[in-house]
Symmetry: C2
Subunit: 136 residues, 2 copies
DNA sequence: TTCGTTGTTTATAATTATTCTAAAGAAGAT
DNA sequence: ATCTTCTTTAGAATAATTATAAACAACGAA
């Protein structure tokens, strides 16, 4: 996903109007080779840096939540003062470098298949996530 | 762990003075048959309910952090507005019922062994936690 | 293209979990 | 008892996130 046209289509397909702000956010989030792990604040700053245009913090929050809801972003469960998101929405797991406060992808094959043997009546499994904390 | 004397010893062993407040908190946290998953606010309210004595919120925070540092409590990585803690400090994993906002223990045998095949130079693994989100 | 509608952005305020501060109090040692 | 050190506490400060509501932009129909 690389061109502005594609972002516009992507937004249209989700019934999100393709505004200048959302397209800029798409550029920062999705115009990359590698997966991107970020906090709202990371993103907020990168938008200014990479596009030269400022988007209000409220819009960054709104858009990230909209993309999350549409399945374009994944929320990574860690305890931090800030919430982390991930552009890689496939099933995968993470290292979290506690000192650097950085997430690193783990491929499924790096972890192996996880079979949950217990079940709770009336509930079904929504996601299975492994978090591996790293220290020096 | 059941008697007040034991809590006093436990606190002394950790070089934490056995104050009335800390002992009350121990009663609520550790005088139970089953593991206990809680937020600071849960605990704050339970102390009043179960002991009849009020402990200030700041002390609840201080004590939970002290116990966490001493290894008497485990912090559970989930994305929530509040931080969850666990009196079960053994290696184990969790279900998180997203609707009820409740944690449920998973025994290691319910998940199976997890072998991380990837390593990061200069870093070592501190913990491996599986979080299974549940929906209706 | 214009117009009315609906969705979006924004600055700013509100909320809320958590941490900090500093003074009063309690525990421990001598 | 006295001194020191640790602890508790109310309240203030911090900081991430969410809510508000007015200005603005995209859309679709005329
Ligand atoms: Mn979200
Ligand atoms: Mn802690
Ligand atoms: Zn990832
Ligand atoms: Zn547990």
């Amino acid at each position: 996903m690389t061109s502005k046209q594609e972002f516009i289509e992507k937004l249209r397909n989700s019934r999100l109007r393709p505004t200048k702000q959302r397209i800029n956010i798409c550029e920062v989030l999705f115009n990359r080779y590698k997966t991107f792990h970020f906090t709202i604040n990371d993103l907020f700053n990168l938008i200014k840096d990479k596009t030269g245009e400022k988007v209000s913090l409220a819009t960054v929050y709104n858009t990230v939540h909209a993309f999350h809801k549409k399945g374009y972003l994944k929320e990574i469960p860690i305890n931090s003062n800030q919430t982390y998101f991930d552009t890689n929405v496939t099933d995968h797991h993470h290292f979290f470098d506690v000192k650097e406060e950085k997430l690193i992808d783990l491929k499924n094959e790096d972890v192996g298949p996880i079979e949950i043997q217990k079940s709770i009546p009336g509930k079904k499994i929504k996601s299975v996530e492994v978090l591996v904390k790293l220290e020096d």
